[in-house]
Symmetry: C2
Subunit: 453 residues, 2 copies
């Protein structure tokens, strides 16, 4: 039986198995889901055991890493597949049309937290591997490293990598955790932004106060936090942190023009999001703003009374989670330091400020002349019948920069999601077309990569 026939005949089974994995609420950011995260790891491990593949679960200080490998011949090239089985928190739950961890298939899409990011995409790799094994068609060596902390910064994975460089030796890293332009327009992500993520706490009085008795006399930490956050960007949408742009690469006009050739319809973009106008840094197009420019977003803010009704309190504290997306050459650690220094400097003396760094990661760019890129392009051309377009994405997969640094390996970002998959949002979904098309394309990748190498 050919690999493609096997895939065709097992579509139902492949779907049922993915739904089972999606039922496990493996939210890595929230400790109350710790056991579920482990269950997801055990689920992945069992997949390889069923195929008779060597597989281990590596314990870390956080969530475990599943590692499997199948060496058919040391002389053949080796593909290291990376992915993650952890997911983003699912709240706000009330905005989901169906419960985030009770997957449903509707309009040819799977709706569940993690459907596209990244359970659905990592599972394509496991099924593509199964198809190749069951049909004796695996053309090269494969290694799988599937972690449970991607959504919280992959700290323990980076430790694991530094300790296992030998074991992880390979010719290329293959990752499916990105999206294509559309189901008619395949694309491969060649650029990713880095990330610096901090949590700030602004403290005014040592206790909550009555806003009548003290309002107008004692500095309000919420008003103050708002002023401080507002001052981090100017009218042009530029970030005002001294030194923030110092290392941002200035790309030639031609490069930017080429980027802007990628199909993009601003009107449908605005309609899809329900906004009257887009908003970003002056002097750049929407594609450039996410592809080659850094940015700053408040991801969460809280303070004072947020319950029902009206409470006249002048609170003691206000908090915010703030993240900055970075571009190549900006150092996550350095930007976090610049932010911290600046944020403390702009704090008025009626408040005290604390800045706590969360995870970060470096931006990266993948060369389009690498063997891995060529193999991915050929594989997509074979399934789609057209050349994929190289794109730069606004998101971050910090681990990609780490792979380049620690293992000196390129990562090929052959993702199959769509921008409308609503990853990190309520009603995340993943298309059945994308799921099956991905499995098929991945099997071709192994073939082409072995030939090119």
């Amino acid at each position: 039986m050919t690999t493609l026939t096997y895939i065709e005949e097992n579509k139902g089974k492949f779907l049922d198995e993915l739904l089972a994995l999606l039922r496990i609420p493996s939210v890595s950011a929230d400790s109350k889901f710790k056991d579920d995260v482990r269950s997801a790891a055990e689920f992945i491990k069992a997949q390889f055991e069923d195929l008779g593949t060597e597989v281990e679960i590596f314990e870390t200080e956080g969530h475990p890493i599943v590692y499997a490998e199948h060496i058919i011949d040391p002389m053949l090239p080796t593909v290291l597949v990376y992915g993650h089985y952890d997911v983003q928190p699912a709240d706000p739950y009330e905005l989901w049309d169906s419960p985030p961890f009770e997957p449903v298939v509707k309009d040819e899409k799977i709706f569940a937290r993690g459907a596209a990011d990244d359970k659905g995409q990592v599972y394509m790799h496991i099924k593509a591997y199964e198809a190749l094994i069951k049909t004796d068609s695996l053309p090269c060596n494969v290694k799988f490293m599937i972690e449970g902390e991607e959504e919280v910064g992959s700290h323990n994975l980076s430790v694991f990598i530094k300790q296992n460089k030998e074991k992880l030796s390979a010719d290329v890293i293959l990752i499916s955790d990105t999206h294509i332009i559309s189901n008619d327009t395949p694309s491969i992500t060649v650029g990713l932004r880095g990330l610096s993520y901090v949590e700030v706490e602004v403290t005014g009085p040592n206790r909550d106060l009555h806003s009548g008795t003290f309002g107008g006399v004692v500095g309000n930490p919420i008003n103050t936090l708002c002023r401080m956050i507002a001052s981090l960007q100017n009218e042009k949408g530029e970030i005002t942190i001294p030194g923030f742009y110092d290392k941002v690469e200035v790309l030639p006009r031609e490069y930017r023009d080429q980027m802007n050739l990628a199909p993009f319809d601003l009107e449908s973009f605005k309609n899809d999001l329900g906004i009257d106008s887009e908003k970003g840094e002056e002097g750049y197009t929407t594609i450039e703003r996410t592809g080659i420019r850094p940015t700053l977003d408040v991801n969460g803010i809280w303070g004072g009374y947020t319950g029902e009704g009206a409470k006249t309190v002048l609170p003691s504290k206000a908090h915010a989670k703030i993240s900055m997306r970075l571009v190549p050459n900006q150092s996550s650690e350095e930007i976090t330091e610049l932010f911290t220094k600046h944020f403390k400097e702009i704090a008025p003396n009626h408040v005290k400020v604390r800045v706590r760094p969360h995870h970060g990661g470096e931006a990266s760019v993948i060369p389009t002349d690498a063997a891995g890129y060529k193999a991915a392009a050929k594989a997509m051309k074979k399934t789609w019948g057209k050349e994929p377009i190289p794109t730069r994405e606004g998101g971050s997969i910090p681990i990609v920069a780490l792979f380049q640094k620690e293992l000196s390996l390129d990562s090929i970002l052959m993702g199959f999601g769509l921008q409308e998959d609503a990853i990190h949002s309520p009603n995340e979904s993943y298309g059945l077309f994308n799921y099956y098309r991905g499995i098929e394309t991945i099997t071709h990748f192994y073939q082409f990569f072995t030939e090119i190498k």
Copy 2:
């Protein structure tokens, strides 16, 4: 037996009864405490029944009103006592040293939500009345109107008042819901600020988005809300809403100088609150800032991911609760309209804004030459041995302005709390000294008021 002897002999009983009332979590702002609010009303009603006093519970569209009256002789003056048995929400619960609704007596203070605001103070009136009845010493007619919605704007009380002007006819209204300067320095509040309270919602995209994929392209409602809030006040701490100050009375230099004679130690004020510097409108002292100037405070803010860890979300919505304290001549309704109009005008076109008004109330000033003020001053002089100082407080008791408007009656704000009682905050407390001194002083008030009238 004299009234004072009765009070002296029943201190233990008076305390136990108050603690029982404080155990009822009568939080009017939160519907899940609806039944407890009613229990508190029933508790108050039972007090009057035990004394054989005519008492009724009036149902409203919200929480009930307890009304009692004792007419000994229509020719004698009548004192209408007003107070409230509802309390502010107790959260954040984790900051309480002992549970808010399990009162404890420590260091000569009662710790519980509502101890000072207003259960402890309203209960002084019931016990002063009891002492006068039990010793056949009530010198005039009394009426009691005790409501359960003061902390949420007294809307239904204002309806009740408009419908019962006849029943409520009196010569003066007596209220204990304010504080004195210190236990050594008695004072009477002659000025209160008004209040305008709104809740705002800023909506960006129609769903939460991945801050990597969309950050820098789609306007972030939290960043935007922060900019909008920051713009509501300028560097001088002045409110920038057009027309906001139009009706604010400009008080003569002499009046301000006289205000500033009230004892106030900025250093101990800052030490008590744990702040390095106070913060307020330029050109005014701390006493002036709360007494005669309006202000704007964010009482609560929320949006995006506020849980554990780091979630890279660009949220769909951000919210804030914002209140403005007003001074005489500013209309709460008009200020709410000015705020709403301005807030919508400053909203950039990448967001949609909704403004929902909560309760409000007018500021008020009480003349020091009124019979009620004189009686209160004499009563305090009798128990303290020194003249009380007239002060203006920053808080709001909107009902006072309503009493002036609907019943053309002055309200005498003879409160016995202290600023450090931490009302509206965790660990609210009320001193035993203040509780017993209040009961005693109130009995004198009736005597002096009857003589002066």
